[in-house]
Symmetry: C2
Subunit: 426 residues, 2 copies
């Protein structure tokens, strides 16, 4: 694979040129020479920035964007989302993931930490489309151990597929759904599993008030955070999605164990779960990253949207306009997400993995131009994202992805089928 | 001015063609014949939709986007915003408004209800750029009557300019700043002024808890809403920006008088003012419209962003995921805003004013494609807005506005000057 030259891009406010060799940044500034397989001209108006690392999602649910909104949680799940999900075939999951990955590129993300059924199909889509992902061995079964997993075949399929088609942009994680859908026995087995495999754990935790209250009632007063800690499941390789309802002790425990928090502010507001205590967690030294959650409760995968909601919900939650500054939120959405998953990425520097995006600064959304990071967090949208690079490959340029027409066509067909089935079952 | 043909655009899910004659929609569907000065081909993938009506802003503050963020209100205003505003010349206001209008077009808005100093410059920019606006005779002076207005010259300039350059897309309103910055005497004179002129009133009201508490303390227990009512200033030609801290009695009064509420959810969250009681106001029959506020506290003018924040903040505020449905929020951002200002607009129908936008549905942000309005409120961003039409004129097409390079250049120069002055005064 030949080298790539990013010519006259803006970096820290100055126009410079950047060389990518293999999957790493090789040179920034200085005299540029040699031959290049590809040259992208930033014309001193495209800013080279880290791309986004989305630390919690359910990609295939992108097929259910706008399928059911503005409903009570119980009706939303029982009457709409679960019946639709039951109709998704392996092939649907594959195309739904491709749709999600397309949207991720359009909105500047190169990595997702995903949890869903039939994850071998997610693996297939990610490996083909060139992005990075952490993909879970999913487990949801309130009774019994891991052998009771209704999704056991899915786990086996994922393991087999990953062994057959190794992809160094993808890591496999253990993904039990939540403390209220997984048994004590399974948690013990999971603790053993992650120890043996050395893999990450990915779980929903303390998302709703009811979850915390039920956990306390069933487990001798333990919060979901304390309950997971009992199994030795907190730590720097554990990603907890949501973390809305945290006690002071929970926050302290998350900070001490360097557990990774994936806050999902849009989903938490849309479903009325509550608002993450960003300021308190930040002050305690917690590791904060940002996820979009799935499209059924967001309804997009834009980390740009998510950053603005993260900052503003943190301010309202703390009643403090200085909470969750633009710089803090930007860090959480980029380098903190990359580092959480052990990636040498999220910063534009020689030797780092060549992930990044080129953002058009020549737009009214970017003027006043006093503070690029503030503009990205509070003003920008995906119309400004011109190019996305992942692992040294240009996956989007000119805001266009090669396969997008085919993906949209396929997914619209799936949506027609789901909608027809819903109408027939009314 | 010749007719315009919008060929094969999506309307209510079907591909159809639409004719604009003069400044109105003349024909929708059916056999299309005749000659057209302009034809825009929607290729059955651009959806024709109402444009947005932004009912509260301070356009020239777009020059201060990202100038100061994440600060306590007092420091934000005293140390940053006010010193910068004091440096703005008439010409700066003119270019700052053009920048704002450019951004409005890029994000799908055709109307703004604006309040700012030196409003003759705002009038000039709007009249040249082809959008619609309500522009205020601004008044801010805690003592004395209207003759004490430090901005009196600005009022005279606006009146003279509007008389000299009449523009039927612009209406003039009376814009006292707020109950805490305008005297009793001035309010009495303002009540007389709006009666005589038959014009709209535009004022900030019940934005912060402190404003309400101070008003009660100073005015015999009256809330800002009740205090304005005392002067006869509530009614269907009064626009109250923010309305965050409302009592049940306030909501009843606003509903009974059919006063127009301009909720500004992003600004209210960013400055920690609080969250508007959307569900309660909607249930009471209040007239709800949406404004972006100025760019210094948002930091953009995107009604797409604002709709998502309106819906989600309403849900969290009411602890009810069914509050502020996508349809309610869409109505507030479009037809309710237009109707509030007496415009026959905000719906695509024969005889209505020819305002509207063409939105690209061929994007991952719009698939699943079950519910167009849900996708617009919860998923879309300005990357999808291809064309904006106002008063029968195409002001943007292909997401490009003719004058944008000149506007961005001029405004970046102003920003450099403001930043240099700030550095020198440190």
């Amino acid at each position: 694979m030949g080298k790539i030259l990013l010519k006259d891009v803006l970096l820290d406010g100055k126009s410079t040129s950047v060389v990518i060799a293999g999957n790493r940044y090789e040179q920034i500034g200085g005299e540029i020479c040699g031959e290049f397989a590809k040259v992208i001209d930033g014309k001193s108006r495209l800013a080279l920035l880290p791309a986004f690392y989305n630390t919690h999602s359910h990609l295939p649910m992108t097929l259910l964007r706008g399928y059911a909104d503005d409903l009570e949680l119980f009706s939303w799940l029982n009457d709409h989302i679960w019946p639709a999900e039951a109709r998704l075939t392996d092939e649907d999951i594959y195309w739904g993931t491709r749709l999600a990955l397309l949207e991720m590129l359009k909105t500047g993300s190169v990595f997702v930490n995903d949890m869903y059924w039939k994850a071998a199909e997610t693996y297939r889509a990610v490996s083909e489309m060139g992005l990075r992902a952490a993909i879970s061995y999913f487990h949801l079964s309130p009774q019994g151990g891991l052998d009771q997993d209704a999704n056991l075949q899915g786990v086996t399929n994922l393991r087999d597929f990953a062994a057959k088609f190794p992809c160094d942009r993808i890591m496999l994680t253990r993904g039990p759904h939540a403390v209220y859908t997984v048994s004590d026995q399974a948690f013990r087995e999971i603790a053993e599993f992650v120890r043996q495999e050395g893999c990450y754990l990915h779980i929903h935790a303390s998302e709703t008030r009811k979850e915390v209250e039920d956990c306390r009632a069933q487990h001798g007063g333990l919060t979901p955070i304390a309950y997971l800690h009992k199994f030795g499941l907190l730590g720097p390789k554990t990603v907890l999605a949501h973390c809305v309802h945290l006690t002071d002790e929970d926050i302290q425990l998350l900070a001490e164990t360097q557990t990774i928090i994936a806050t999902c502010p849009v989903s938490n507001m849309k479903l009325c779960s509550g608002m993450f205590r960003w300021r308190d967690a930040q002050a305690a030294g917690c590791r904060i990253t940002i996820g979009t959650d799935g499209c059924a409760s967001n309804n997009n995968l834009s980390m740009l949207d998510e950053m603005k909601f993260a900052a503003l919900s943190a301010k309202i939650q703390a009643d403090d306009p200085t909470a969750a500054s633009a710089a803090e939120v930007w860090t959480a959405a980029t380098v903190a997400g990359a580092r959480a998953f052990g990636l040498d990425a999220g910063e534009i520097a020689v030797g780092q993995l060549a992930d990044g995006m080129l953002v058009n600064t020549d737009s009214p959304l970017m003027v006043g131009d006093y503070n690029l990071i503030s503009n990205l967090v509070y003003s920008a949208d995906s119309s400004l994202i011109d190019t996305v690079i992942c692992d040294g490959r240009v996956l989007m340029t000119g805001h266009h992805v090669d396969s997008e027409e085919e993906i949209l066509d396929k997914c619209r067909q799936i949506c027609r089928r789901l909608e027809t089935a819903r109408q027939q079952n009314k």
